[in-house]
Symmetry: C2
């Protein structure tokens, strides 16, 4: 997606340790127009996958997931990292390592909103090692749902998360695939 790549080139900032700062339009400040375009693009890519629900992880997955959900006209469930008091005692829970937090985080979904027979499209902001997305896949699996695809805004191809997902037989699409990053240069894959 050219609009996203251009935005990354103009405003993205490599801050070391494999971390791309895109706080100006995704992770802290959000550009709703860009998110809407990304949502349209996800809907175009996955329109034939007959997804019935989108699954994402709080926090930064919410904006692209809700945009995709609007254009696919399906609901979005965001996995919580802390169990709110509105959630039932029995939940779907998995542990996932957080790169930016340096520890394991919980990913929690209520069985009220994810169950047997759902066809789940996973949407997130980043595909790096793929660990968060693997956590979401596990949640969908223990719910008895089928994962029909994975879409992310930005992929860091050098962290090889895609390989694990494709080995599971999943279709993976990222709107901007970064091949390498330094302080001076961000290079996209193809």
């Amino acid at each position: 997606m050219e609009l996203l790549k251009q935005r990354i080139l103009n405003e993205g900032q490599y801050i070391g340790n494999g971390i791309l700062k895109v706080d100006g339009f995704i992770n802290h400040q959000v550009d709703p127009v860009l998110m809407n375009e990304a949502g349209k693009e996800f809907a175009r890519i996955f329109k034939d996958h007959q997804a019935t629900k989108i699954l994402t992880a709080e926090i930064s997955g919410i904006a692209p997931a809700v945009s995709a959900g609007l254009h696919l006209q399906i609901p979005v469930v965001f996995a919580r990292k802390h169990k709110p008091i509105t959630m039932p005692d029995q939940v779907l829970l998995t542990l996932s390592p957080s790169h930016t937090k340096g520890r394991m985080v919980e990913l929690i979904v209520s069985p009220e909103y994810l169950g047997k027979g759902e066809r789940v499209l996973i949407i997130d902001d980043f595909l790096a090692t793929g660990k968060t997305i693997e956590g979401l896949i596990q949640l969908a699996q223990i719910a008895g749902s089928t994962v029909v695809g994975v879409g992310t805004l930005i992929e860091k191809t050098f962290e090889e998360g895609r390989r694990h997902l494709e080995e599971m037989g999943l279709v993976v699409h990222s709107l901007a695939r970064i091949k390498s990053m330094t302080e001076d240069e961000i290079v996209f894959y193809k």
Copy 2:
């Protein structure tokens, strides 16, 4: 907003202790079509307030804020509750009591994305005691921004958050105003 009120009547659940569970379309599962309609409504209500930025709080404020931002064509900043490593050392920070967590939480905004001269529209999911929104107002004030209005999806009028905000001279609009709640009945204001 009739669509939202109807949804609350059909699917909202009073679970005691003043808490309305709307996890099926706002707080855990999100209905993107409903959020888009809410965003349109916020844009219609606040179109003459010349907001340059929307400010909300993670997590559940993000979906309505991004929808409003799309229809007003302005960026959205979501205050973080934990400082991510991509944020500079100097930040705008305030403490806010969380009703559902039973403790104080931090609300953190990077000065990179909120500064002097901004006209800030605050959007959130709930207006209850108004404490979270007061925290967001404080962040805007220490940034040197002007708050031009407050919009929320659901207001619990009996918690009187509106009174404090209106005493500050702020325009407050909620799309569904709940006057009283029991396990059997949810009554809207006017």
